[in-house]
């Protein structure tokens, strides 16, 4: 009986569960996993292969692989002998061509592909396409260099076949080292911790969140309270105005700020006309850059808090306001004694909600100062994004970026849990009244 009503609940919830698990839970888990890897552009995300390269072998000499073995392994040669001929035949090389090769080059060895291919080109039955020629030539190659082996066993096998004399430990060492994919590591966190830059960014982030938040809350409060006292038409006009930043697509909004603060932009021109220093306010100095960053985000947030506060204000029973006026309160006293106490929870809510959004948002900064000038307005989320996905050198460090993201996730979840407590989460959850 009870099962049945549970089933209905799950049936209703399941579409959401599927999407949330796919696009929230899985990414979080993946991020947590990546944070403990050295994943980057060169290791790839989805796994690697075993590739023995010349550079690797040179490097391995330092690691104790006997130079003799290393040198022997790095040999590449093209040899026409019965074995390679048989291999070529099996691979389906044109028999006439093959016959020609056997006739002309049997027993010869070439040191590099190019010279061998040059010889092959002289043959009458050579394939017309260069690619086919190269494929055919490849059958005679004796080398383990630069081949991508999908598994360690294949790589080991190849070494054993190529140079049976290599001791097993050395083979293992080489195979281990030849893996191109990512490996587990905790170094990301150590690196973050050790790097002084990390701490600068932490400070930046704290400064950014704190100031923007204050701006958001104070301006939001101010707007909500002032519009509350104004006739509806005026109040509506202002609240619509202040909502524009929140509604405007971010790409446009960012550029409007550029227009406003850029060299030759509005502020620049106005400042010049007034005899004030005129320069690129968005990027030209650290204080103005911060100011602009805070305003850009603050204006968006202010709209949000204004709406919440206005809603809360409207919920104040109007009789209480009347009562206070009858009791003799001036406007300031009314705000101080009646209105602000009513806004305690909304303020707390805005503060906590905005803290989280600010911590993890970076689009606005990215599209405007992009952390500049220098790295003075760089914040954690943007740095994580840049590290993991977006930088000039194209050297995407997924592992390190994920570690940075994970830090954000942990901070965010911790804060959320604190807030859930704070907001008496249990009261939000009323028990279903229909028990069947």
């Amino acid at each position: 009986m009870r099962m049945r009503s549970y089933l209905i609940g799950f049936a209703f919830l399941s579409p959401a569960l599927v999407v949330l698990i796919a696009f929230f839970l899985t990414p979080v888990v993946l991020t947590a996993i990546f944070a403990f890897t050295n994943m980057s552009t060169s290791t790839g995300i989805s796994g690697g292969a075993y590739v023995i390269t010349g550079n690797l072998l040179t490097h391995l000499k330092d690691e104790g692989v006997p130079p003799k073995i290393a040198d022997a392994l790095s040999k590449t040669s093209f040899s026409v002998d019965p074995e390679t001929l048989a291999r070529a035949k099996a691979a389906g090389t044109d028999p006439q061509f093959l016959a020609e090769i056997e006739k002309q080059f049997s027993g010869r060895t070439f040191d590099d592909a190019r010279s061998f291919e040059r010889e092959l080109k002289g043959l009458r039955h050579r394939p017309r396409a260069i690619r086919d020629l190269k494929l055919a030539a490849g059958q005679f190659e004796l080398s383990i260099l630069n081949a991508r082996f999908a598994t360690a066993a294949e790589a080991r096998n190849a070494i054993d076949t190529f140079l049976p004399s290599v001791p097993a430990e050395t083979v293992d060492q080489i195979v281990q080292a030849s893996y191109t994919g990512w490996r587990w590591t905790t170094a990301n966190f150590g690196q973050l911790f050790a790097n002084p830059d990390t701490w600068r960014i932490v400070l930046n982030t704290i400064f950014y969140v704190a100031t923007t938040l204050s701006f958001t809350v104070f301006i939001g409060l101010f707007l909500a309270i002032t519009t509350f006292y104004l006739p509806t038409s005026v109040a509506t006009a202002f609240s619509m105005l202040w909502l524009l930043p929140r509604l405007t697509p971010i790409v446009l909004y960012a550029v409007m700020w550029k227009w406003f603060t850029w060299d030759g932009g509005f502020v620049y021109t106005a400042a010049k006309a007034l005899g004030l220093p005129a320069f690129n306010y968005m990027k030209g100095s650290v204080p103005t850059a911060w100011t602009v960053v805070i305003l850009i985000n603050g204006f968006i947030g202010a709209a949000f808090s204004m709406i919440l506060f206005s809603g809360a204000l409207k919920a104040i029973p109007v009789q209480q306001l009347w009562a206070s006026e009858v009791d003799g309160a001036s406007r300031w006293q009314q705000i101080r004694y009646i209105i602000l106490p009513h806004l305690r929870w909304p303020i707390l809510f805005v503060t906590s909600y905005q803290t989280l959004s600010l911590l993890s948002s970076y689009e606005q900064i990215w599209l405007t100062t992009n952390g500049g000038p220098g790295r003075t307005t760089m914040v954690w989320a943007l740095e994580a994004f840049n590290t993991a996905l977006n930088n000039y050198t194209g050297n995407l460090q997924y592992g390190l970026g994920a570690a940075m993201a994970l830090v954000l996730v942990i901070v965010g979840v911790t804060l959320s849990i604190v807030y859930l407590r704070l907001f008496r989460f249990d009261e939000l959850l009323s028990r279903p009244k229909i028990e069947f």
Binding site: G138, T393, N395
Partner: protein, 425 residues
């Protein structure tokens, strides 16, 4: 048979659209050749360009992970390291005939740049130099004669005229009032290979010759950072300079508002076509990047873009794509790109193509700068060093940290990430 070849190119603006168009022309030629041969083959090209590098590299990397990378990627040669390691690239030498036309006439040093781990992974698409530029009128304003100006490139090359001489000169220009304060020296406003040139000016090397490992020269790094701090202290460049918009920079240098700056050879094309620069040679004197001190040398870095072949798609597709790359590397076709965008020829024969040979700028660049040009390493880990170097530069330039701290930061980051894969001196 209909084959669609996808080509993506990064850092590509309107003047460099031939990166894609050359492949389209090649597709046309290949289709026609097939028709002549009697083969039924029709090759279509879908091109996409990115104006910046960040988005482009992000897109390529993610697309590669999801096996939807384009067949041909036009990117900086330094990406060969990481991308080949991650299995994103096919070695192009397995698909093209380097002994045959047109690849057999490509400068071998460019081919070396496209080679990594003993394999040739890409075909150079262009070459370039990144010269230093002086404003002739402003030099004259502080007392240079025409002859002295003409002799400047040699003095730079010989190491007699250093970066610090340059600072003194632009300071004079500012003092003279011909250049606004803070606009004497206008380096590249954002990250780029260019900054490694300054590292070299102070004696830095990017690879260790003995071991072949990456090399971080702390002394050179310190001197280089110090140089920019000195420039800031002199007042010839603002501490908040980095991150300035390209537009502001172009506007200043093309309209003769700056004293000295540096950029790419290709910038000349942009200044002329987009910013209305009339008399390049009358207004601007290009030189190598001056040496910074006695340890260093005058230099320039070439940062060839290369056509890369991705592992996406079938071997047959790759074969066709490789053929397209070969055809696009024909001197006449490549010269279109070189001249239009202010880049340098990739091969001897191209230098003889009239369009190219008759162009004064490409000739100067080829003859005066290219011999002194080197390139950044293809090492897959170079990006880590690069990113750290630029972060340190930003930190010291904006004075968020001292030069010494910034260098320490770079060292820490490089060492913790790469361990002994890099030699730190």
């Amino acid at each position: 048979r209909d084959v669609t070849v996808k080509v993506w190119a990064g850092g590509t603006s309107e003047s460099s659209m031939y990166r894609i168009d050359a492949i389209k022309m090649a597709a046309d030629i290949l289709s026609r050749e097939a028709a002549v041969r009697g083969d039924d083959l029709k090759v279509n090209v879908e091109g996409q360009t990115w104006t910046g590098w960040d988005d482009f590299k992000q897109a390529v990397t993610l697309a590669a992970e999801s096996n939807t990378a384009p067949n041909i990627i036009v990117s900086g040669h330094e990406d060969i390291g990481p991308w080949s390691k991650s299995g994103l690239l096919r070695p192009i030498e397995d698909y093209v005939d380097l002994d045959a036309w047109p690849l057999n006439q490509i400068y071998s040093n460019l081919l070396d740049v496209a080679t990594f781990d003993g394999k040739l992974w890409g075909i150079p698409e262009d070459a370039e130099a990144r010269p230093f530029y002086f404003s002739k009128p402003h030099l004259k304003a502080i007392g240079y004669t025409d002859e002295q100006i003409e002799a400047l490139p040699e003095k730079v090359e010989s190491g007699e005229y250093t970066l610090y001489s340059m600072l003194d000169d632009v300071k004079k220009m500012q003092d003279k009032g011909v250049v606004e304060n803070g606009m004497g020296f206008m380096p590249r406003p954002v990250n780029g290979t260019d900054y490694w040139q300054f590292y070299q000016s102070f004696g830095g090397e990017m690879t260790d010759k003995e071991t072949g490992k990456l090399l971080l020269d702390k002394q050179a790094l310190t001197d280089m950072y110090q140089f920019f701090v000195d420039a800031v202290d002199k007042g010839v460049v603002p501490s908040t300079y980095l991150g300035t918009a390209w537009d502001s920079w172009h506007d200043a240098v093309a309209h003769d508002k700056a004293g000295a700056w540096h950029g790419g050879t290709w910038h000349k094309a942009e200044w002329e076509t987009k910013w209305g620069l009339k008399d390049f040679f009358g207004q601007i004197e290009p030189t190598l990047i001056p040496a910074g001190n006695a340890r260093g040398r005058a230099n320039t870095i070439t940062h060839p873009l290369v056509y890369l072949l991705s592992t996406t798609g079938s071997d047959d597709d790759a074969t066709i794509a490789a053929e397209l790359i070969s055809i696009a590397s024909e001197p006449r076709i490549n010269a279109l790109h070189a001249v239009k965008s202010g880049h340098l020829a990739i091969g001897e024969a191209e230098a003889g193509v009239p369009l190219y040979a008759n162009d004064r700028w490409t000739t100067i660049a080829t003859e005066e700068f290219l011999p002194h040009a080197n390139s950044i390493p293809n090492d897959p880990d170079f990006g880590v060093v690069w990113k750290a170097m630029y972060k340190g530069l930003e930190a010291s330039w904006t004075k968020s940290s001292s030069v010494a701290d910034a260098v320490d930061g770079v060292e820490t980051e490089v060492r913790t990430t790469l361990g002994d894969k890099v030699v730190i001196r």
